[in-house]
Subunit: 578 residues, 2 copies
Amino acid sequence: MTRLFNDPAAFADEALEGFVLAHRRWVRPVSGGVVRSVPAAPGQVAVVIGGGSGHYPAFSGLVGPGLAHGAAVGNVFASPSARQIRTVAKSAHTGGGVLLMYGNYAGDVLHFGQAAEQLNAEGVETRCLAVTDDISSAGAEDLDKRRGIAGDLPVFKAAAAAAEEGRPLAEVVRVARHANARTRSFGIAFSGCTLPGADHPLFTVAEGRMAVGLGIHGEPGIGEQDVPSADEAAELLVSALLAELPEGVDQARGQRAAVILNGLGDVKYEELFVVYRQVAGLLAEAGVETVDPEVGELVTSFDMAGVSLTLCWLDDELETLWTAGADTPAYRKGDARASAGRTDAAEQRDETAEAVPPATEESRAAARTALAALTAIRDTVDENAEELGRVDAVAGDGDHGIGMSRGSGAAHRAAAAAVEAGAGAGTAVGAAADAWSDRAGGTSGALWGVLLNAVAAALGDTDRPTARTVADGVGEASAAVRRLGGAEVGDKTMVDVLVPFAETLATATAEGEALAPAWDRAATAAEAAAKATADLVPRMGRARPHAERSLGTPDAGAHSLALIVRAVHGVLAAPTGR
Amino acid sequence: MTRLFNDPAAFADEALEGFVLAHRRWVRPVSGGVVRSVPAAPGQVAVVIGGGSGHYPAFSGLVGPGLAHGAAVGNVFASPSARQIRTVAKSAHTGGGVLLMYGNYAGDVLHFGQAAEQLNAEGVETRCLAVTDDISSAGAEDLDKRRGIAGDLPVFKAAAAAAEEGRPLAEVVRVARHANARTRSFGIAFSGCTLPGADHPLFTVAEGRMAVGLGIHGEPGIGEQDVPSADEAAELLVSALLAELPEGVDQARGQRAAVILNGLGDVKYEELFVVYRQVAGLLAEAGVETVDPEVGELVTSFDMAGVSLTLCWLDDELETLWTAGADTPAYRKGDARASAGRTDAAEQRDETAEAVPPATEESRAAARTALAALTAIRDTVDENAEELGRVDAVAGDGDHGIGMSRGSGAAHRAAAAAVEAGAGAGTAVGAAADAWSDRAGGTSGALWGVLLNAVAAALGDTDRPTARTVADGVGEASAAVRRLGGAEVGDKTMVDVLVPFAETLATATAEGEALAPAWDRAATAAEAAAKATADLVPRMGRARPHAERSLGTPDAGAHSLALIVRAVHGVLAAPTGR
């Protein structure tokens, strides 16, 4: 269990702070994460990795020459926000474009995807790659749905080594895809970790039993069996990986592979070595030549007791990239080294403090209305936080209320500060969007950031927003949430409410209704749609391990959206509203 | 707990095998441990470290350029035997002499001390240094009694870096002593590890509580308290170390220190970073400049949940040595690197298979008598193993019977093989001595090795042993056991029996008695002395955590020695004896 912490809410930040203090030779802190202490050569593609905290050395421990240029570091097991990723990427960028790399998890896909859209919009050419090595998380016909686990390392490293050679962004992306396509992992686990401040483990496996294919955050596995001997464990891992050769590898015999036997935290080095002894024997028997094997803790899950085996099937190009030098806090190889001259963190300014752009008086008035709406949203969320938590707990981990509360509170504060500084409606709502996504964490936080950003773009800082402008913004928001979130109507998510809300609002305003009555109609449609989600079963996922149980209960995200649009109607219908 | 293993008895060997398979770039296997894959320059002092298994990266993970030249690797939590240490040292030696380094534990002190005596006798100039950094294990007035924990690393590294510079053995020893004198550690623990095959942890700490100053094998701590916050833990660790500055450091302010925040296994990286954040802050407040801090797992105890802080107070010389490059499987720094050209393990032969030296027929006859005695010893030990375990369990961990059984069995087999090959008495008993020490493990195994080796030296391979020869050998054995074991009469150990036995035998043979009746008198004295140990309270130690409870029970080692000398008398008095 995790025993040493101060305020659990501050854990990830404090860990990052201590990490930086111990590793100034390699990294310097920026808002949202870390970048190399010595910047890469101008024009080199910047490889920016990231994910939640709790997986050290992933992700901050892998920053340095020959590996990542920066890491965006989220809260415990939560994706970094799009804003964090953007800040880190811009600090790491030296003109050659950016490749964002992360494990394939809903929250990460959302936040990194959003950051990439923003960076591209700002003129920083950016591409994304989600690592999908865990063969137990989806079938071979669904490669894109697989999770990323310890296969992160060889895929990150291949791309980073290609960047280090000075290859252009398109080439680095090709290499990353190629390495990902040839990387497979498979894991077993004996027990879950207990997060800072939690009083029970994230998941449990019965004493003497072992979960097969379990994810690193407690995602469901594909089976359970008695704890095997070390040799049997090796046999299980090796045979699973030899049973699914990637495209382009016709047979195992005669192949070379990078091998990673990864400890998740509480399986210790000597045990790993005992298992590796047999892994090496079995691979040799199968005619596979191991290249620079790694046995140790590369991607952990606090003190989770588990182990995974990764094979990255090498060709000449991948072998050169895998064996190239690297020098990071937690991973070193060959000649590369963090150079002596480092950039002093204090000298460095990042782009968090942005000036408020000019706005018309009309737009400033609209910003005040938006602020009133955000106040109402915050109050409604706070009032209903406990209920939202209860609803969420039926299918998921019950933190929807807390996350929404944190997000809406931060959004309100950011908008208030912006209005205070004279911002127009677009800037004020945009600040709220970033703050929400930044502070709420999780998938719903990211989606609210996306939603509000789309609305902000429609509002702008110049014109007095009309009913049509607002409806267009909401329509954009609906499209963006579906595009980035990947959910459709019927999946039992907020999309089930957002789509009919946006459509009703569009219809009503197109018919010439004023904003307040149109919003009222749309809110009524939203409420009906939220209620109807009780009849749906969501797709399974990490956030909803007990999805099937939720039949008969509405979706928490759908429910909170319906509450919010109703609260906003109160503001729009009030005498001071419009 | 340790979950992944095959045969628990083979765990340490299999772990070493897997470790070597994964790290061929740095190390090659030799009998008893590992040495660098690329030998050091001729004439360089060889720094050979070692200790029990279960502490990875200590000790095998620290072999490579800039750090150790070889590591002798014992069984789980058991010292390597003198034979293992000798083999590793001879493989690592390139003509400049050897420095043996290890933590200050009874078993290690014995085995390394014995190996040093043998190496020096064979013409390999060898010195020893036991690291004594754990301030909780003895008072500042008893520096030599302190245990070695994570302070191993800076002390090993200082000596190794000095060796790498080409300094002569005396200089390397001086540096090692100087570094050890300036290194202090202090630790806390939340729970113990469960060894391979064991069904309960080595020790437990109540949920929510923390042991202060606990050793890395469950040795008693100096207090217990509630689990603190991370900041409070940092405060506890830092203040304990600042309260005891070493000689030559008048005040903390203005000093530089190498800092190691070490995780014992189940306290994970993020927690360590949260603690380090405050450690760094408190040291800065106290005016201490940190140099190349290390935060991670450097000396573990399987999955024990604990953390220790080490400060090595640097002067210019020690700072240069601490910051020098190193390249080992688990620890890398700066420029040093394991070179590409490596020695193929298969090409290498070590000195384990020794030819039987020539012997006279008279000495061969004596060897047969010695073998009969060793058969009787084995049978007596096996008959009484359970009782010996019970006696030992009163004060200690109850493994005396098992260890003696393993040792005497191995000794018998080795002597039988030697006799079969035509060995004289000296060679046969010497083989038995090495096998006993090699297989029994623990302190009693080492002492039986010492004892039998002294007897073997007296017997030789030429002359027919007389009663006086045997008595002289036993006298030598008594002196050697006291010298290397450090116990005196009255400490409630086998010494309480060995000394009166040797003295009575010497008196009786000096008076002209034949061996059998003289041995009978001596055995009677031994039996009385063994009984009398019931009235003594032993010194506390890791092997005897409940020492005070043993008042009223004889000492297990004393008891087994008395049983053994009586059984040998049966052989000497029999018609085929002499």
